[in-house]
Symmetry: C2
Subunit: 277 residues, 2 copies
């Protein structure tokens, strides 16, 4: 099954486009998590992520661990165990490694091994800056997906992504060129393997990306704590199949710091998913 | 001391611009390394990297571990130990984490912690695609350096980096805009903290980068196994202080697979360093 087909199956099965981001920040963990293992941050990270997955799985179609949060704590082994557990326990959910890698040749092969072999990801986020041959080793994993950074939700995203192009690409901005290449070039698309990351804070630009890449799944951060407009995102990017993986992290993870943290996370996920109907 | 000043000190002290890349590939380890710990790949990685550092330190000014090679093996703890050992044993050499990270806000803070806190790097490679606020958390580490991908040595590097720009940047290509921003914008340069990655295979473009960013240290891969022209690189990018960190990995690491591997690595490093005089 191609990665595009895996996304379509996940949207259909779960009737949800919600992706729950796993950004474990020990300083914000609920009190019961800290109390259960006061001297063991890695155990806290694992228990917290498992609890969030259990609470929110009924309302989402995907989970997205952000590897920086694990790497800063030396928690790679925790992320490996979470990957094995999620893939075994929630086999119909997508497991997306947010690591924004980007390199070439034998180095890119190692990053593909890291994502697909070690962490068992269905897909991994990548930077497009190094071009097509930085994608090839990921496409070599049959069915493996990538989400290329296209239009990001931060102010500095303007610095390069909004630059207008000249010559044969006159009329396009850099982020639009990235979207166009995913739609038009086999070496940027793989076998229906390349999606795009487009922030929720710029719905007009999300609509441009959708127009240029009608079939690409779009991973959309910026809803929830970052304040993106959900209705505008849906209007701009939704397709007949679904088309969007709309990510929320902090607004779900840290909805409540008390003994009711899982209930609060479930409710936050349910409300977001319902708002996407 | 600013990162630019740290580079100048390293060039001056070692009278070398050679950076030895640590890309440990167990399939290519010399026979004595494999024989000493036949069932323990992580021990092999550590012994091999230490042996390369010991053999080549007299001839280089920097070491550059490529984190993908460690991550694919689950060898993060090995990389941590190498970092502590290199910083303690070779305090005058630069230790550059090649990880091409790139994210924003609290996530970028975690990557900065990974690079500077966990792996004790003097500098880290980053992708520029997400713009200035993806750099800010790295610049917050006083004296910490970054090397931004600018013009990479792979064929796919053309896909985005060579795109001609329109509007106020007409006449510039995307990679030139990256170089210009490092030279002109405080939020892209930090306190003399931002260098650039420019492949050795395009000396004319390296000369353009040098013209646009006269003070930025340039990290130059592509010499050695990748076939870049050293004389052309020197002519294009050298400055009065040095200006270049010219990386070689495979041509040094795997110069010989026998019991003489360290001697061969030292000789390969010495010859390259001499050719840079």
């Amino acid at each position: 099954m191609t990665f595009y087909a895996q996304c379509a199956a996940a949207w259909q099965r779960h009737q949800s486009m919600l992706c729950v981001g796993l950004d474990p920040d020990p300083a914000r963990f609920p009190e019961p998590i800290r109390a259960a293992a006061p001297d063991d941050v890695l155990a806290q990270v694992e228990a917290f992520c498992r609890g969030i997955v259990e609470a929110t799985a009924p309302h989402c179609c995907a989970f997205k661990p952000q590897i920086a949060y694990f790497a800063a704590l030396g928690a790679e082994a925790v992320l490996e165990r979470l990957g094995r557990w999620v893939r075994a326990s929630y086999p119909d959910h997508l497991w997306i490694l947010d690591s924004k890698r980007g390199d070439i040749g034998s180095t890119a092969e190692r990053y593909a091994t890291e994502a697909f072999g070690r962490y068992l990801a269905h897909a991994v986020t990548l930077s497009p800056y190094m071009g097509s041959d930085s994608l090839t080793p990921f496409f070599a994993h049959t069915g493996g997906g990538v989400f290329l950074l296209c239009r990001t939700s931060n102010p500095g995203g303007n610095d390069l992504q909004m630059l207008p192009l000249a010559g044969p690409d006159a009329g396009l901005r850099l982020f639009e060129k990235v979207a166009q290449q995913v739609a038009q070039r086999a070496d940027w698309r793989g076998q229906d393997q390349a999606g795009l990351v487009v922030g929720a804070t710029y719905p007009e630009e999300l609509a441009r990306v959708r127009a240029l890449a009608p079939e690409a799944p779009l991973l959309v951060p910026g809803i929830g704590a970052q304040g993106g407009d959900l209705a505008a995102v849906l209007a701009a990017g939704r397709t007949a199949d679904g088309g969007l993986l709309i990510n929320a992290s902090r607004s779900i993870l840290y909805a409540d710091g008390s003994a009711h943290w899982q209930t609060a996370a479930a409710r936050a996920a349910q409300e977001l998913a319902a708002a996407m109907q």
